[in-house]
């Protein structure tokens, strides 16, 4: 992967919930076009790690770089501005959402797509409005143009005839495909998937994995937390095994799945394979 453009990098990322230290200094780097599968035991911090990458969680310490630019340096961030606008924000805006939504973070998030386990599609918006909302509002793309783009994306995942439906009328698999194209409509440089098929009925897993596979093969930089070992082996260029709050072992799918070096990795794999 060397020589490829760096998309995301973390240095000594720490994250705790109360007393529980979930991430204990994660160093990682992700490069343009690669597909990385992240595996590990339940509660091991895979989701937390992924969510730190677009600052849905705010790490206590460490650094995150998006395309070479610092997205977060825990030390420097402390001294936030005390402008009138910032005061108004702290006065009115919800505690949860104040978890960093400054201009720089927002711009980065627009280029980091994320797909959640529970889809999180917007139930009050039609399929097409789900997709065009953010491009129109945040990237000032004309509505007609955004809709044309959205239709192309819907076509690509076989949902075009649903464009005027509301999400309540979609199956789980369809909702997840919608969530994927909603993220793609922002033309991100990297896509983060957090167990995108775990909440799906078994018969719908394939349709979603097919979309993700196509995406990965088309050259999209893809990070995917998954329990689908077969899928990880098939699409991933690299596998990260997270345990004890660290990247415990990493390598190609063959290295990790066929010749794991560490005892813990072997134990985990013997349970899931």
């Amino acid at each position: 992967m060397n020589g490829k453009r760096e998309i995301l990098r973390t240095k000594a990322l720490h994250k705790s919930f109360g007393k529980e230290e979930v991430l204990k200094g994660i160093d990682s780097a992700f490069f343009e076009g690669e597909t990385v599968a992240i595996i590990g035991a339940s509660g091991g911090g895979k989701s937390t790690f992924l969510r730190c990458l677009n600052l849905l969680e705010t790490p206590e310490a460490g650094e995150i770089y998006f395309e070479g630019e610092p997205l977060m340096c825990a030390k420097a961030d402390k001294a936030s501005s005390r402008s009138a606008k910032e005061m108004l924000r702290t006065l009115f805006l919800a505690r949860e959402t104040t978890a960093k939504n400054t201009g720089a973070v927002r711009t980065a998030r627009q280029r980091i797509g994320m797909v959640f386990q529970h889809f999180n599609v917007f139930p009050h918006l039609s399929v097409i409005d789900n997709i065009t909302l953010s491009p129109v509002l945040e990237k000032n793309i004309p509505k007609a143009e955004a809709e044309k783009k959205a239709e192309e994306l819907l076509e690509r995942v076989g949902l075009l005839e649903k464009k005027n439906e509301y999400p309540t009328r979609l199956s789980g698999g369809q909702k997840q495909r919608l969530a994927i194209v909603r993220a793609l409509a922002m033309e991100p440089d990297v896509m983060l998937f957090d167990e995108p098929t775990s909440a799906l009925d078994p018969e719908m897993v394939k349709e979603v994995l097919d979309v993700i596979r196509d995406l990965a093969r088309s050259g999209m930089t893809t990070l995917i937390v998954t329990h689908e070992i077969g899928f990880a082996r098939e699409v991933a260029d690299r596998v990260l095994f997270i345990a004890d709050g660290l990247i415990y072992e990493e390598g190609t799918p063959e290295e990790i799945f066929d010749r794991p070096q560490k005892e813990k990795t072997r134990q985990f794999l013997s349970k899931v394979l």
Binding site: L93, A94, E96, N101, R106, R109, Q110, N120, L137, E138
Partner: protein, 223 residues
């Protein structure tokens, strides 16, 4: 008795209608303004800045922990004193009602916002939505579905609670009853008329709200 009611209605119908008008506009104005205030209070209550959060909590606790009649007296006594211009009883009473209702609406709005799945916020953030767009396009429209029925109930509550304004002879339905009673001394018939009007109003409104709510739900499923 029925004859008495008929006679009273023939004679004092317009007076009751005037009272009904007072009740309706006071209730409606109260709920509308309280909705704006309640939304602001709810936002501050959920926000990061502690002192104002605490202040809003105090406001809500005070309103919930004291009788509404006492609140009316308080505003009725103090508002004219502290204001540089003349304040009519009606203005004092409506202000007090808004003060009261705002606290209840704040709790309703807060609950409505909190009932929106947190995943919606996360999805909005992950798409790079700004805070205002996140709130106005994602959270609030969904919260509104939880809030609107409760606002309807607040309106119905207010129709009943404005009757306390009769203590201060502010023009509304219960005041009309008191006037008619004091002129005719026909207590029970005059009271019955007011009661029937109140009941008809709240009954109709409750049904109407039920229909609206059902339509909203079925729209969601159909849509």
């Amino acid at each position: 008795m029925l004859e008495d009611i008929g006679k009273l209605w023939a004679r004092y119908g317009p007076l009751y209608m005037e009272g009904l008008w007072g009740t309706l506009w006071m209730s409606l104005l109260t709920v509308l303004v309280a909705t704006v205030i309640g939304t602001a209070v709810a936002l501050i209550r959920n926000a990061r800045f502690r002192p104002t959060r605490f202040l809003m909590k105090c406001y809500i606790e005070v309103v919930r922990g004291t009788p509404i009649l006492l609140q009316l007296y308080f505003f009725w006594l103090f508002l004219p004193k502290i204001m540089p211009f003349e304040v009519s009883d009606t203005v004092s009473i409506v202000t007090a009602l808004i003060f009261n209702s705002g606290a209840y609406v704040a709790e309703v709005v807060r609950a409505g916002i909190q009932a929106v799945d947190h995943g919606q916020t996360e999805a909005g953030l992950s798409l790079g939505l700004g805070r205002w767009h996140l709130f106005s396009r994602i959270i609030y429209p969904q919260a509104l579905k939880n809030i609107l029925p409760a606002l309807g109930n607040e309106f119905i509550m207010m129709i009943k609670e404005t009757s306390l304004a009769s203590v201060f002879f502010v023009s509304e339905l219960t005041t009309s009853y008191k006037t008619v009673q004091s002129v005719t001394f026909k207590s029970i018939p005059s009271l019955t008329i007011a009661g029937v009007i109140y009941f008809a109003m709240t009954f109709l409104l409750t049904r109407l709200l039920g229909i609206l709510e059902r339509r909203m739900k079925s729209n969601e499923r159909k849509a």
